[in-house]
Structures are given as structure tokens and as C-alpha cells.
Symmetry: C2
Subunit: 313 residues, 2 copies
């Protein structure tokens, strides 16, 4: 069930009018430290501040006219909530976002600001799911899962297609893994581009369900994840896991202090704001620096949405 190259290429073309082709940045300091050539795909500069709008736009554009008229619905308290709201707004579609009642007001404001309707639920998995199903039936809206939806995965795959245009002859691409949509999309695009490029996932030790899933051969739940990288607390899904299993060579796990140091380092040296989830991928190349030596490394900086009033440094 791995989509073909032409499916990825079609997604690139489909979403192009609605997303930014984000810049690819390099750092002489980092290259010298790692003795590698590192290309940072800056999805922190993406619309909505994260890569998620790629999948959201691609999924909405695959709906029939009738489906689009009835709108889309998802559950998320993070970047996908804002991304689906923003994508729906750009595509004249109604978006319903099921959010836990304890979601930070800054995230609720962002979603509401893009014109989506917020539907409150209790901060439990059960309430979230039952609220979603009830609302979905009531509105007739199409459910778009934040990471376990093939159109979302294909949308997310477009970031690395753009990266590969600017950074020729990559040896390895590394992306953070939470729900698995970005990593699966990255892996399938990478695999179609050049079979010899390696795809690596990066994950906090405090939320290493993807690592354990690969190790055990079946999806492990994310139980009480503890990490500053709040975008990576979710678990893999049955659509993205087989892709990750087949095409990702490994998951590198990093400690919390490594995430914070990597985040601070990127802010200080590259003068760009990245969120902890992005810093997980950076921390992984620093932690395992010897294996990246003399290689051309692509890093997906997944987003830049942080609460500046609550920084870890």
C-alpha cells in the first residue's frame, strides 16, 4: 500500500498554489562541527508555522464538491488543528476542530482566527473520539486524521520533494516522528527519488513509541509520553506504520536536554525559531554525529510554533 512516485508528484502540483515552497538553509558552523553538509528544510516558515498544512490542503483537495460543501472535521490540539483550519479557509471549506477543553488559549485563538468552528471535548481520548463521531454525523463532515490518512501523508511527502530540488545528491534525510505522517511521507518520497538515500526518524526517549513499534513489529501505544516536544506525543497509525517499517532505516532517540540544547543552538546560530519537535531531528544528528560525517544530510525542520513566554532556556 505504498503510493507511487506519480502520486507524490501529483500532490506537489496540487498543493503548490496554497503552500509556501519554504527556504532551504545551511550553516557553515554546523557543517564544520559535524564535518557534514546539512540542508535544513525550513517548514517553520510554512503557512501556519508548520508542515501540517501540506497534508491538510492535499486531503481537502481530494474531496468531491459535495464533500467539500459539507466541510471537514478533525481532532487536534496542536499544529494540525491550525493547519486544517487555515487550509479550509484558503479552500472555502468549513472546518470543525474537536479540541480538549484544556487546550492552550493561544492554540484555540489561532484556530478560531482562521475561521474554524471549535468543538469542545473533555481532555480524554474517549471524549475526543465520541465527540468527533457525534459531530461528524451531525454535520456530515469528512474526518481527516492528522497523520494516519494517505492524502495527508502524500501532502507531507511534498516537503522533501522540494528539498531534493535544492539539495542535490542527498545521502540521508531525517525527520521527527510523532503520529508518523511526516516520517512516512518523507520516507516514501525519498525512496522514490533515489533508492539509496536513507530515511531516519528522530524521537524523544520520553515518547519512543515509534522506536518500540519498529522493534516489536507492531504499533505500540504512546503511554504517558513525557517530552517537551509536544507534537511528538501521538502514536503511529495503521496506514503510516507499514511505510515506516519498510522504508525507514531506524529511529534515533534523544534526551530532553539534547532537544533543548539543539533548539537553543539553532536559534542562536541560525537565527531562526524552531519548535522542540524540530529540535529533536537536529539533536539526533548531533548525538549520532559520527554516522553523518562526510554525508549530505537533509533535515526537516517541521515547525516554529512555540510559546515565547514559556521557553526552556
Amino acid at each position: 500500500m505504498i503510493p507511487a512516485l506519480k502520486d507524490v508528484q501529483a500532490a506537489v502540483k496540487r498543493i503548490a498554489p496554497y503552500v509556501h515552497n519554504t527556504p532551504v538553509l545551511t550553516s557553515a558552523t554546523i557543517d564544520a562541527m559535524l564535518k557534514a553538509t546539512v540542508y535544513f528544510k525550513c517548514e517553520n516558515f510554512q503557512r501556519g508555522g508548520a508542515f501540517k498544512i501540506r497534508g491538510a490542503v492535499n486531503a481537502i483537495l481530494q474531496l468531491s464538491e459535495d464533500e467539500r460543501a459539507r466541510g471537514v472535521i478533525t481532532h487536534s490540539s496542536g499544529n494540525f488543528a491550525a493547519a486544517l483550519a487555515l487550509a479550509a479557509s484558503a479552500l472555502n471549506t468549513k472546518a470543525y476542530i474537536v479540541m480538549p477543553s484544556n487546550a492552550p488559549s493561544v492554540k484555540r485563538d489561532a484556530v478560531a482566527g482562521y475561521g474554524a468552528q471549535i468543538i469542545d471535548c473533555e481532555p480524554t481520548l474517549k471524549s475526543r473520539e465520541s465527540t468527533l463521531i457525534a459531530e461528524q454525523k451531525k454535520k456530515g463532515a469528512t474526518f481527516i486524521h492528522p497523520s494516519n490518512d494517505m492524502n495527508v501523508i502524500l501532502g507531507h511527502a511534498t516537503a522533501v520533494m522540494e528539498l531534493a530540488k535544492e539539495a542535490k545528491q542527498l545521502d540521508v534525510v531525517i525527520a521527527p516522528v510523532g503520529g508518523g505522517g511526516l516520517l512516512a511521507g518523507t520516507a516514501l518520497a525519498v525512496n522514490h527519488l533515489h533508492y539509496y538515500i536513507e530515511t531516519i526518524g528522530a524521537e524523544p526517549f520520553g515518547a519512543d513509541d515509534a522506536y518500540l513499534s519498529l522493534k516489536t513489529g507492531k504499533i505500540q501505544p504512546s503511554i504517558n509520553p513525557k517530552t517537551i516536544a509536544d507534537g511528538l506525543k501521538t502514536q503511529l497509525g495503521d496506514l503510516n506504520f507499514p511505510i515506516i517499517q519498510k522504508l525507514v532505516s531506524k529511529i534515533i532517540r534523544v534526551e530532553e536536554n539534547e532537544i533543548i540544547e539543539a533548539m537553543k543552538f539553532i536559534w542562536e546560530r541560525m537565527k531562526i525559531v524552531i519548535e522542540p519537535s524540530s529540535a529533536v531531528a537536529v539533536a539526533a544528528i548531533f548525538r549520532n554525529s559520527t554516522e553523518f560525517k562526510n554525508r549530505k544530510v537533509g533535515v526537516i525542520l517541521s515547525g516554529g510554533n512555540v510559546d515565547l513566554s514559556n521557553l526552556p532556556f
Copy 2:
């Protein structure tokens, strides 16, 4: 005593191999808020994290072989110290930096890291000047003033030349003013590009010596400046003031809370790290937004060197 367009063009060509042609970024959010088109020249992405290397490289490249062999010397505890050290290193010249004994260790480390020799002085104007003169004599090094040196001013002028190549038909360019080197350089380049483009300076109320200098017609000292924008605490010089007097239409002053809000806004929305001095220019366009409406506005984001452990938000 205003240099000609060809002098600016020569500086552009001269320094090009040693500096970054930094990106020009835009923000749909900011344009919508201001009903203007704003082009941000991102000197926070410049080598050393600030525009200052432009002037430093240009000044060193104008020295004779004999002078270069004896090295350069300056006094600075801020961005110019690091910039001259970095420029000297790139050009195989020795740099001596007179720094007050209470300069932050992060700044001392940066200067030392670029291979310059730090010469300590007491944290007084008198000690700084006497130390500089004594050392200059001892080493035979050429003194390069951080802002009141025509080659430094011409070097700084190159940023807006690059900006104008990407942002066509600018109506106004705004830059922060501290020692006056960037503002004078910007104004003279702007004036040569198109006589009808306006150049505006931006300054904190707590360090408004440039505003007062323009008002009174003579250079006013910067007495007990109080502002978070520590790069703007210095006063104008006899070489840059006449240029500013002739070619800058006005200085907009901003409050400290406006500087902090503008800085936070740029970090949050544009996902880039700018220092308070850069935020002064952004705060100025927000404060006087009506006068920028429907205009094409160039903003020089002068640098991105901040202490992340000591943020104002």
C-alpha cells in the same frame, strides 16, 4: 563630503566575496496589518549575526598591504567587536579589540573565538580611549571606528543596495540609528538609487540623541541612555552626522514596550530571531503605521545577536 554612487557600487563589489547577500523576507500578516508592502532585509542572517561585518570588511580591504600587516584595532563591546575580529580573520589580518572588563563573557568568547586579541580596559570612556591610543601606538595597528569611518559607512551602505535589487520601487527605507554608521550608509545609498525614496531612522526614546542632534543641528552626546536596544546607545560622529542631516527625513522614536512587542511579534510570526536594535525599526513602522500605508517599505533588520537566557518576554 557625501560619497558618490560609484563609491557605494565599488564597496558592493569589494566586499561581496566575504559577506552574505542576506535574504529579503516578507510577511503577509504584517502587510495586511499595515496595509503596506514591507521588505525585511535580514542582516540577522549575516556573518557574525549582524550587518557590521560589511563595514569592517570594506575598511580592512582599503588598507595598504603594509597597514594590513600591522593589523587593525577598535573599541567595542558589541557587534562591531565580533565583526572586526571575523573580518580580520577572513582577510588574514590581526585584530586588536579594546573591551571593557565588564563586557559579557559571551561577547568576549565570540571575539576570541574569531582569533582576535582582546585588550582589557576599565569600563569608562576615558580608559577606553587611552587604552586604545596606547595599544595603537604599540602595535602600529590602524584604528577602525565602529561607525564614524567613511569606509565603514560605505560598507554598511551595501545592505540597502542588495535590498533594492530584490524589492523594486521602494518608497521608504527605515533603519535603526545608534552610532549612525548604518543609517548614514543606508541614506546615501538610497539617495543615489532614487532621489525620491525617503530614508527614516528609528531610535528608542531612552537613547534619542540622534533625534535631538537633528533637532538642534549639532551632535548631541548620548548621556545615560536607557534602552534594551544596547546596540543603539552610542552617539553620532562628525562623518556620519552631515550625511544623516542632509539625507534622512526624520527619526521616529519608540517606547521600550513597543520594542519588546515588535521583537516578540517578529519572532512569533516570521520565526526569525532579531535583536532589540532591529526591533526598534519594526516598532517604528507599527507606531507610525498610517504614514506607511500603501507604501513599499524596506526595513533593515540589523542583527540577531541576543542572549537567550535573558529575554524580555
